[in-house]
Symmetry: C2
Subunit: 591 residues, 2 copies
């Protein structure tokens, strides 16, 4: 061995350690030559300590130290001394190590970018050189936060008597919802495993097997066209409990969140979390994941305008739709016609056909649609939304979901554009959204699909509606939302095989299809399944929020690009013909 092992790490030494002889190991972060005096900032996972080689004491050593390059791997031996010019920004900044010997363990080539936080980097470069990117303090901190997250999770669920159980990665392909990643079987040519989109069915089977409280931190996979905030492989904290109601699952979830926020950020979450029905969340905030850090509530004005002469609105009202208003406080002056046109384009992305608006300035209404309303109607609207001088009112008019979705999107956009989000960015507002619809109608497939998943239990008084009024049926489903992001979602599951069959039927699945895809779940439910339910948290997104980054790839050691490339290792890649042959597969000719 041509190097000396550390006796201390680089984050450890303080003024109390003065005169201590130490050996450190690490990376040369910065090397400075101040008139022959060589300073090296030595970095390891725990911190940075300054080394100094003094030519008066040891000229040979100082000469050698000159040749240390940034990112060289170094061992250093010397004595702790009080610094003349302390660096108050680091915990070790009061001391330095006067070198008596050192060596370069491994030379580093010149890195393609500087290892520090305040450097402008193209993300592709960062991903290609991930081993260097991860050395940057910011990235180290995020992955250490993620580690803390794991440890709190392990402890919390163990303390609450949960059993950690691994579910299989090579499982059955049941494409219902997202697209599966497939894994061809070599032994059974022409057959495939699928990677789990979630261990949903397996955790339910663990409940029928009597484990009562299950937890797993588990990778899941979805082969979807990726949005920038999604990864094809992602991690969830998967939880399931038996003999419980929604309140029991929520109590476990709340205790968990409280611990995470306290231990990682020293933030106290008030429990119980605010509860809000899906309907209320939509009506007040235009979203099933409302950002409650600010108000800007929507108001339903359908009853007020239903008799107005504005046909666009009154038609919507007549057809059972909703007309609602968002009051963009104080925005009348700032939103020129051009900016309102931009808002209109934005609203159209969310399905709006247009965007009606009113400015309330000095007691008067400025609006292309003002003429369609009586003064009384206008007065009631203004009163309804607490309009004050300078406010801008934006109208949505459509079916329930469509109307509120558009206004919800505008609410967030206005909050962002006017700086409101910036003002509240260090606060956390949690809510638990409940009473989701059991189904939603899929226009493309022209059938009802499960809003959560097909195993979600209907509410007790919605049981009959599965068959008679599916659109009205509510589910025992819940999401946990913080600052407008969904971080967890779950439900009480169906534990009765007959109800599960009804559910599959309502979803338009034929009996043989059900038998083939979900036969083993129905079989498991047959032999004494307990009432059960659970929740799954999105780990990557939670770490994102806790670490204060807005890039999900920053929370993952080796992420992929949005198209699924690993720029570091070059996967996916071509494989040898022999490998495909063994799997009984061939590539389709390119069209």
């Amino acid at each position: 061995m041509n190097w000396k092992k550390r006796t201390r790490n680089c984050g450890q030494l303080r003024i109390d350690n003065e005169k201590e002889n130490v050996v450190l190991n690490g990376w040369a972060s910065v090397v400075r030559d101040l008139g022959g005096l060589i300073f090296i900032d030595l970095r390891d996972r725990w911190g940075i300590t300054q080394l100094v080689a003094e030519p008066e004491i040891n000229p040979e050593l100082a000469e050698r130290a000159k040749h240390v390059k940034t990112e060289d791997v170094v061992w250093a031996s010397g004595q702790v001394r009080k610094r003349e010019n302390p660096n108050m920004r680091i915990p070790t900044g009061l001391i330095e190590i006067v070198l008596d010997d050192f060596g370069i363990i491994n030379k580093a080539a010149l890195p393609p970018f500087e290892i520090c936080d305040d450097v402008e980097l193209n993300e592709d470069t960062r991903l290609k050189y991930r081993f260097l990117d991860l050395r940057r303090p910011k990235m180290q901190k995020i992955l250490l936060t993620r580690n803390k997250f794991y440890q709190i999770t392990h402890r919390y669920f163990a303390e609450n008597d949960f059993v950690e159980i691994e579910t299989p990665f090579l499982m059955k392909s049941t494409p219902e919802g997202a697209r599966d990643f497939l894994v061809p079987s070599r032994t059974y040519k022409g057959k495939f495993y699928a990677l789990p989109q979630s261990p949903q069915i397996y955790k339910q089977i663990l409940m029928t097997a009597g484990f009562e409280r299950y937890v797993q931190i588990v990778k899941c996979f979805r082969d979807e066209d990726l949005r920038s905030d999604r990864q094809a492989e992602f991690t969830q904290i998967d939880v399931e409990m038996s003999f419980v109601t929604q309140e029991d699952v929520m109590a476990i979830a709340e205790g968990y969140l409280k611990k995470l926020w306290k231990e990682i950020l020293d933030v106290d979450i008030q429990l119980p979390l605010r509860k809000m029905s899906y309907r209320e969340a939509m009506e007040r905030y235009g979203s099933d994941k409302p950002d409650l850090r600010f108000d800007m509530e929507l108001k339903n004005v359908t009853d007020i305008i239903k008799n107005s002469s504005f046909k666009v609105f009154s038609d919507v009202a007549d057809n059972g739709g909703v007309v609602a208003v968002l009051n963009a406080k104080g925005c009348a002056a700032d939103y020129s016609r051009k900016k309102i046109d931009e808002l209109t384009e934005y609203a159209k992305k969310y399905g709006a056909k247009g965007l009606a608006w009113m400015k309330y300035i000095d007691g008067a209404i400025n609006s292309p649609i003002a003429k369609f309303f009586s003064q009384e109607e206008i007065n009631i609207i203004l009163q309804q939304v607490n309009a004050e001088n300078g406010d801008l009112l934006l109208f949505g008019a459509d079916k329930f979901n469509e109307c509120y979705t558009v206004l919800g999107a505008l609410r967030l956009k206005i909050a962002k554009d006017t700086g409101i989000i910036d003002q509240v960015k260090d606060s956390f507002e949690f809510t638990c959204v409940t009473d989701f619809p059991l189904f939603e109608f899929d226009e493309q497939e022209n059938r009802f699909v499960a809003m959560h998943h097909p195993f979600t239990s209907p509410q007790d008084d919605s049981l009959e509606k599965i068959e008679t009024q599916p659109a009205e049926a509510l589910a025992k489903a819940y999401d946990i939302v913080v600052n407008g992001a969904e971080i967890g979602g779950g439900s009480i599951r169906i534990h009765d095989a007959e109800v599960q069959r009804k559910m599959f039927k309502a979803l338009g699945l034929a009996e043989d299809e059900v038998a083939m895809k979900f036969g083993f779940l129905l079989e498991a439910l047959k032999y004494g399944a307990p009432p059960h339910g659970g929740i799954a948290f999105g780990l990557d997104r939670m770490v994102m929020i806790l670490a204060g980054t807005d890039n999900i790839r920053d929370t993952i050691a080796f992420p992929k690009t949005t198209t699924g490339l690993s720029l570091m290792d070059g996967s996916p890649s071509e494989v040898e013909a022999k490998q495909l042959d063994e799997l009984g597969l061939s590539l389709l000719k390119k069209q």
Copy 2:
């Protein structure tokens, strides 16, 4: 909700709880009708509690209780009472619950087998009905032991400042060693990801990224024809450390094992573990994973017989081979000619051409080969192996590895057949096998292959031998063995890009192949890689040993058969043509 939630669990109530009113939830394990008095053993994850319905007190209730069937899911409310006939085999056996009300939450169909330990079950049936198999006390206990294993692991490595980091599941295919499972990419048709055989390269890259101490409990995948003690997906505890030598890694491993055995079995492991070189393990026990619970050491007698007239032996000696002896103590009488023929067949499976033997009975030698040796040679052999009256000597003669491998296999077989293994089955003998050869010669491929993997560092004085005498080069590699099973293995890795290149060259990899497969590792080593090394433990096998089962599938919640079938969910299965189409794949026609 048509049931009452538990106030206590079924493993909790004691005589101190007498007169307490409780509600329990669980499964009806046994239902007995003793002249109108109905007893139900109610089971949950925590235990079993006896319920009783008394017709004199509540005839309607007793009548209903009669109709409870085994495995029905039940809620029960009543008062704790001292039992007249206590059951001392269970912790709750002193009390029972006198029912005041109960209900069936979910009816169970008649299970295909009884939920208890002492039932003869075909393993295929168990795997198909895994949700019922897992309800059996033995299986519950194994998975709870596995849970305990996880928790100890999380705690131990966190306490030792390791960082838990997730490595990718969709990675680059680099078939070197075992066969990869492939995952076709939809976005990049014709390209594939591979599932990890181990996160080896990624954990090394995490060391170059400066995380210093990494741990992960991680699924790994090998698409091999399965032996009965292997699963295609298996779990390892993956560990890597920077700025360390073999001794540092071993100290972490030893502390870990000590904790596991203490907390799970209350067994004290003496540290440091016994160390033994690969060569010593082979020469004394004929295995690189020696079972040290019993002696039966092999003896090298090459020098003694090299001038004998038995040409089979002397030729081996002349060609640099080894002749060695296993003394099967006291086996002379028991091993008839027929049994020795069976031993010979067994030895041939391990590569022996035949099996020479000598019986030592009443001072005389009985052996087909006795005539080839002088009395003096025989006396020295007898002395060398401490032969006593009634001993059976078995000879191996071949090249080093081949000779000892055969004798090692015979040693285990004799120990098993004569009941020695049975006598020692409750003891644990650990050893750390070190100083492995760096390469082994692969006769089929006619080249050297890495004995551990291509990233293993040669020992300092073997560095030059990589090119000049590969067969003699030793590695900084180590295995941890308990009772003849390898439970962990690791090495100090190569941290110098040039040494790594030499290693690839010695393995016969062309430069472009190296660049394509391992270019990103070489790139990472270039920018300041620290000295590093690690170890990986086989979780499934360790749980097997700690839980005292000899079936690896018992340690896994949802295992596959040896051919990779999941009998419960029916995977692998056919997929829709559309799914293959999207992946740009087609099935080869069956031949």
